[in-house]
Assembly symmetry: C2
């Protein structure tokens, strides 16, 4: 791409560093910003930089937070004795959107994946273990993606768990709502059969 | 979407104001930036804001520029007496990428489109007319998209042109390279027949 302006070229290059944004999309975004008021673009830049400079990670659950302890961990209305282990912040947001979970989280910041060179020590697993030793929660829910890496991570954490009696569960794996049996893979279908749940009967 | 951090939420909101970026994509971009060094994110923000604050529009051709006159207009190696009228900066970049054009441009900043409420006065058409009256170029090429709005704009500008003798052309409309006749619409096929060009003969 040939640019008649270095300022434009630099801005396009910055945008195209973002994941999934190519040169053409970057140019479209930059030209959109060029049409906006200077004040609006300044607000855009400042908000992004401020987010990066000031954002913290909750000292308890490792979720992104404005303070040392995040709003979920400091909320006395939530069940602090239930911990849901998730891979990343996106998963916290996904579960929160269901409005069905009233416990707390622990964000691992990734998943054990030896092929990608990610071991337990690069994740927030030591923090989880020491948190469990300190808090002795009632239940530990694994809300990890159902794949080999997820299962490896569950296996690793289980082995490291303190001896104290604790209820350990994982989110159900089965056919998605609206999915079709004939298109489900064998693994999913087999698991949904193994983990079948009783149907509640309507009593007259 | 439920966020545990206002800083994160604000950043996601800013990104999702951009065209074609929804909340989920915005979140992905923000979390990517969160993983980068603070310095890199500061550079990102500063480059965007600096671009908006300092970028100029060439006083001659209305293209984006670092100075009062853009690098194309101030380049003495280019034929200043040939002007290609284009809709926007993206079209300049597209034509420059072909490396087949050695004249100058005039960026209209849009296209006449009464349905969208865009008239000639919102575009850089008055600047084009006064430029033509002053410069008396050899040729005026219309490099506009081949559609109703493009044709309307060509018609309007033609009527406003100064009486001085000037060669007016438009980029060829026809079947794309690699395209197939049977899938071309009637309008395109009809035009490509009307505007057929002689085939150069190989002479023994």
């Amino acid at each position: 791409m040939q640019f008649s302006s270095t300022l434009l070229e630099n801005a396009v290059n910055e945008f195209s560093k973002l994941p999934g944004i190519g040169k053409k999309t970057a140019l479209r975004l930059v030209l959109h910003l060029l049409k906006q008021d200077t004040g609006m673009v300044e607000a855009f830049g400042e908000t992004i930089v401020k987010m990066r400079q000031q954002i913290k990670f909750c000292q308890r659950c490792c979720n992104v937070s404005d303070a040392d302890i995040c709003s979920i961990c400091s909320n006395s209305m939530r069940k602090q004795e239930i911990i849901c282990v998730v891979e990343n912040v996106r998963d916290v947001i996904a579960i929160e959107s269901t409005q069905q979970f009233n416990g707390t989280y622990h964000v691992l910041g990734g998943i054990i994946s030896p092929l990608d060179g990610v071991g337990p020590d690069q994740l927030n697993i030591p923090q989880l273990i020491s948190r469990l030793e300190k808090e002795h929660p009632e239940e530990l829910i694994f809300g990890l993606n159902p794949n080999i890496q997820g299962d490896t991570t569950i296996y690793y954490i289980q082995k490291k768990l303190p001896a104290s009696c604790i209820r350990i569960t994982t989110i159900a794996r089965g056919i998605s709502f609206g999915g079709e049996l004939e298109y489900a893979d064998e693994m999913t279908l087999a698991r949904s059969l193994q983990n079948r749940v009783p149907v509640e009967r309507f009593v007259k």
